[in-house]
Amino acid sequence: MKKNLYYITGLLGLTVLVFLGSCKKSVIDRTALYPALAPSNIDLNADTWKPVLITDASIFNVPAPDAVTSPAYVADLNEIKAYQSNLTDDQKAIIKYWSAGAVLRWNEILRGLVAKHNLPPYQNEDGTYPAPSSTNPFAYPQFPFSNPPYAARAYAYVSAAQYDALIAAYHFKKMYNRAAPYNIAGIQALIPKSALASYPGEDAVVAGATVEIMKLLFPTEIAYIQQKASEEMQYRMMAGANVRGELNAGQSLGSQVADVFAARARTDNAGKAIGTQAVWTQLQVQTAARGETYWISLESPSRPPMLPLFGKVIPFLFDTAAVKTLRPGPPNLTNSAAFKQEVAEVLSYSKNYTREHQAQVEFWADGAGTYTPPGHWNAIAATEFVQQNYSEVRWARNLALLNMAEMDAAICCWDTKYFYFNQRPTQANPAIKTLTGIPNFPSYTSGHSNFSGAASTILTYLLPDRGTKFTDFANQAAMSRLYGAIHFRSDCEAGLVTGNKVGQYAIARAKTDGAGN
């Protein structure tokens, strides 16, 4: 009996050990560690910076704030005091999260939504594919399918709208010159104090602009986005940084500015980018007429090509005519020796890959279900910008430069892809197996390479002290597509060149927008 007791104790002991071991398994998200934003320069002259779309900030309606002696303002102050007298742990966590910065957090939220909606539709019973509909966004497949071109455009509109809204906000901040509530006795500053005038509140401006433009871009997520926005407004009050009146005015201004962007987005041709059966067939006909092998979908069932008319979307950094001039010369002809050599090179990477190549392919894959290559470059940029202690308006400006370059790179790349409409390596030789999924659009030029060329060019300009860091990243991203055996070397090299050219347009803008480097 005693012996049995030992056995049972031993067993229990082992069980406890196993269970204890299971406790400490949380994964640390590096974005949760970001400190509260404390700008090294509040960029007081940002009202003079060159906006993207708006022309005159004074046309927006931002009424004068409540007088500091008014009952309304006193009530607003009391609301802050009530929060601060009894902050829960959840509320403190909200302060910690949002204090890292409004532009940063909204960019992360957008990246999450892109990843959530970046799934190709599942086929119908008859082997055709349903398409998402902006007029019926909740039906399967939900609108949008945030594939790389869609995502690039979404990042651009959100960032540019936030940037213009903040420029407008600076105009009114200077006009009304209201001090933040944490300068008043009895109200604590739970985040670093800023000398910037607080009416209208810049966090609210960013939130207002984002909510408004997202109604168009991610219509199924409005409830989630509004909940995030109200959480952010609560954060500003709890932190003692804004009274409710400043936040209401800010959200209203952001929303008004975003309307200008929404009007552009409705007519920028993106809605027509999916094409029609006639367009898809015409692509085959015109490629065959040139004597070239045309692209076919390598998915089963065969899926229509992704956004064949995205090349017709109106760019931000240059006019539509420039898209054609940026288009690289043709890829190697189907029957050329150079083409056969390229196919052979891809086959060798397919057959003789190393684990290091696999890691590089996975790191840069950014395929279905992810925030896409432009999202990856936003993540890279955000990691760097956090170290720079930018003001909100400079955050917005730099992300707008990055994302307008990414959107325009997508336009140029898609224009090129569907102009030449050429095959993927595996279509040329089915023996080529791949280390990641083959995207459902033509090969030449590589999207990753265009995105990475554009992003690395503008980021290197914005952060020259990083040396070749971004260029190295871009080369790795581009080559990962060759190593993964889904692109020819020339797709990647030509893509980087075009991407770099698009990035130069962003630099040209940055040099003349009044913001300095």
Partner: protein, 313 residues
Amino acid sequence: MNKSLHLYFVRCCLIICCLTTFSKVLHAQTDADGQMIPKNFFCGVVMYDHSSWNNYWEGTFKRNNLNIGTLTANTYSVMGNYGISNKLDFLFTVPYITTNASGGTLAGQKGFQDLNISLKWHPYQTKIGKGAFGLYAVAAASTPTSNYEPNFLPVSIGLHSTTASLRVLANYQTGRFFVAGAGQYIYRSNITIDADAYYTTREIYSNRVYMPDVTNFLFSTGYRSVHFNAEAIISQTTTHGGFDIRKNDMPFPSNEMNMTTAGVLFKYSFDAVAGLELTAGGNRVLDGRNVGQSTDFFGGVLYLFDFSKNNKK
């Protein structure tokens, strides 16, 4: 070869249960039976397992995928079982796996997967009625033996987690008929992937992936004699956490992978060749979540070595 050695033989038992689902949630179940190998005996085993599936579950939605076609996995394992004492065995398994997708373009993978070692303890035995009741406990650990890529499902050869598990098994045998039941808790370490951000139900900025723990319950019954063993096994594997594959998304290592399987196992030992035993069997996933509906067949050769002093004399 005397009769008693035949008895030991049957005890040299290793069940392989290589279910190629999206991964090997269960690798070799070398320890899921109520039998022991005696002191200073060593049983060496080579096993081959062939597993395949056409259909899989995205969450609870069962589908096929022409871009995967039939996913097959071949597993070649070397296993061993050594009797430290009559009540304590040491077991190990080293599998080499190749995968292939017949449809689509994804490159099949191959490599050594996870080394599994375990200690099997038989602390308690008593007579109940006409039969014998025994309790067993198995503490096991597994760890990857190569740097294979876990985030390339469904062609990955494994999930690259290091695990520790505890299984408790009760066995009752009367005559040549037995029933057994077991429960297992598998602690899984987090894994590192090559991507540095990924989406589960939200975007996570890390190259570390939280791997929820797993439990397994099984019930087996059958016929067990000196020469021949035939049994049927029902098993339920449950992942305690994780998330569903979204519609038309790719699988991910920390998906909630659950499955109910049914299988059979046969073993036969020869009179003519001392120390030799053959085993064969198969399993089928009856129901699952975020796994492939795999069917597998396996066969193996076991050979018993006697290192005991008694035998050397």
